[in-house]
């Protein structure tokens, strides 16, 4: 944990992260100034955040870890537990990416949409940052080669943001004769991006945009309960991939 402070001082001065913060700021500012209705603004921001945040979080984490590989080796040769090195890295990266999101998109959102919806949007953004940081750490720990690791990170992002929905629709049509609602809901819990979307849309209560899984969530759980469940599952998502990577890192050949 003592290392987290030093890792943070390094990441917070990283140019890529500063540019990312600035980009988020620019996008959210222009979205809110273009839309006269702040709810529409939140929806536009949501669509942006669902694409950009996972992409940048996973790629930034992947590249940072590969670039630090020699430094991680040096830390491992010091009298310190391997697990505390890996945990410090997750804290450092997760905190910095979340902070970038809060400064870049959160402040503007709170100015234009000062209510629980605004807060929920920020919380989802932070959770997505943590989740994709954690998934990226899992990807890097299993790939020794940097190019392969970055490729794998981009593929996971592509899978969660595009391919997953395709698979879902495919299954929906294939099994449309059967009662597959519950299975579909379970499936959507396997995709954090989908869950984040459902979480915000349930809050905004815009049924037209909710999509199939969102509508299912509402029918089965109601708005409030549906939000709690998707929120909890997102929390689990930010931990499980990281914990698996931690276990692997403890026994890894460096």
């Amino acid at each position: 944990m003592r290392m987290t402070k030093y890792i943070l001082t390094d990441i917070l001065r990283n140019k890529t992260l500063i540019v990312y913060t600035f980009l988020l700021f620019l996008l959210s500012f222009s979205v809110f100034s273009l839309e006269d209705n702040p709810t529409k603004g939140v929806l536009s921001i949501l669509n942006l955040l669902l694409i950009i945040v996972p992409l940048i979080s996973s790629i930034f984490t992947t590249i940072y870890i590969y670039n630090s590989s020699e430094f991680i080796e040096l830390l491992v040769s010091q009298p310190v537990k391997r697990s505390s090195i890996w945990i410090s890295l997750y804290f450092g990266l997760g905190f910095s990416l979340s902070l970038a999101f809060i400064i870049g998109a959160g402040i503007i959102t709170m100015i234009y949409q000062t209510d629980s919806t605004g807060i929920l949007l920020i919380v989802s953004g932070v959770l997505l940052s943590l989740i994709f940081c954690s998934i990226a750490m899992l990807t890097t720990v299993y790939n020794r080669d940097k190019a392969k690791g970055i490729g794998a990170s981009i593929l996971t992002w592509l899978y969660f943001s595009l391919l997953f929905d395709g698979v879902l629709v495919f299954l929906l049509f294939q099994f449309s004769d059967y009662p597959i609602e519950k299975a579909m809901m379970a499936m959507s819990m396997l995709n954090p991006i989908d869950l984040a979307r459902i979480l915000i849309l349930l809050k905004l209560d815009v049924s037209a945009l909710m999509g199939y899984t969102g509508a299912l969530f509402r029918t089965f759980f109601g708005n409030g309960y549906g939000q709690t469940i998707s929120f909890l599952v997102l929390g689990i998502w930010s931990l499980i991939p990281f914990l698996i990577s931690l276990h692997k890192f403890k026994h890894k050949d460096l």
Partner: protein, 232 residues
């Protein structure tokens, strides 16, 4: 001090260390040499716990290193390639190392002064040359006055003057009765320091003898020649 017992290590199908047993004691300066891919770095990494052991064991001061991390406070390690986070400066790296070891430890900062690093403490790591980063690695290895020093290609990339400073430091530490393990491909620069040679090939130890024994056996006085004669 370090006692290695029957360790083997494979990366996938490739067997890198094949049932190696060797012991190393204080007051020794060991040259660990051998061709590329002979298993030198893997042996060092096993001692440092960077490569977890599957078979065999390593004892340091009679305690097994398996499952332990505290023993590494006895070791100073200088890696072959030193790369550090881009946005930290030299001072922060050294401070970080002190924080890890506990700030109460008495430090040996003579190398920092000899290399004149204090003037550039504020410089970011990304702006430093390879040689300067190598100096930082050396300072970290010697910083905590460890009983065991493991130096992987210590002078590669250093200018002749700095290389000389580092060699002198190694000799000073040798005089204090420490165990020093050096790998290098430049045999000539090892000659003046070492007391024992371990030559590895294909995951085995081919030669393990004190330098005096080798001198007598071969009748040569240059390390390169000694090794090639001893191998035949």
């Amino acid at each position: 001090m370090i006692s290695i017992e029957n360790i083997s290590k494979s990366f996938g199908k490739q067997e890198v260390l094949k049932n190696i047993s060797v012991s190393m004691n204080s007051n020794e300066c060991i040259a660990l040499i051998g061709p590329n891919g002979s298993g030198k770095t893997t042996l060092i990494k096993s001692i440092l716990g960077m490569v977890p052991l599957v078979t065999g064991q390593i004892l340091i001061d009679n305690n097994s290193i398996i499952g332990s991390y505290q023993y590494r406070s006895l070791i100073g390690y200088m890696p072959q390639i030193g790369r550090y986070p881009d946005n930290m400066n030299i001072g922060q790296i050294i401070q970080l190392m002190k924080t890890i070891r506990g700030n109460h430890v008495i430090t040996d900062e003579s190398l920092i002064d000899d290399f004149n690093l204090r003037q550039i403490f504020e410089k970011k790591m990304s702006t430093l040359s390879g040689g300067t980063r190598q100096k930082v690695s050396a300072c970290i290895a010697f910083l905590f006055n460890p009983k065991i020093l493991i130096l992987d290609e210590p002078t590669a990339g250093l200018d002749p003057l700095s290389s000389e400073i580092l060699k002198n430091k190694i000799l000073v530490e040798k005089g204090k009765g420490k165990l020093i393990i050096i790998t290098s491909h430049v045999l000539s620069e090892l000659e003046e320091m070492i007391s024992r040679v371990i030559y590895m090939q294909d995951g085995h130890i081919r030669i393990d003898a004190s330098i005096n024994e080798l001198l007598e056996q071969t009748g040569e006085n240059r390390l390169g020649k000694i090794i090639s004669k001893a191998l035949n």
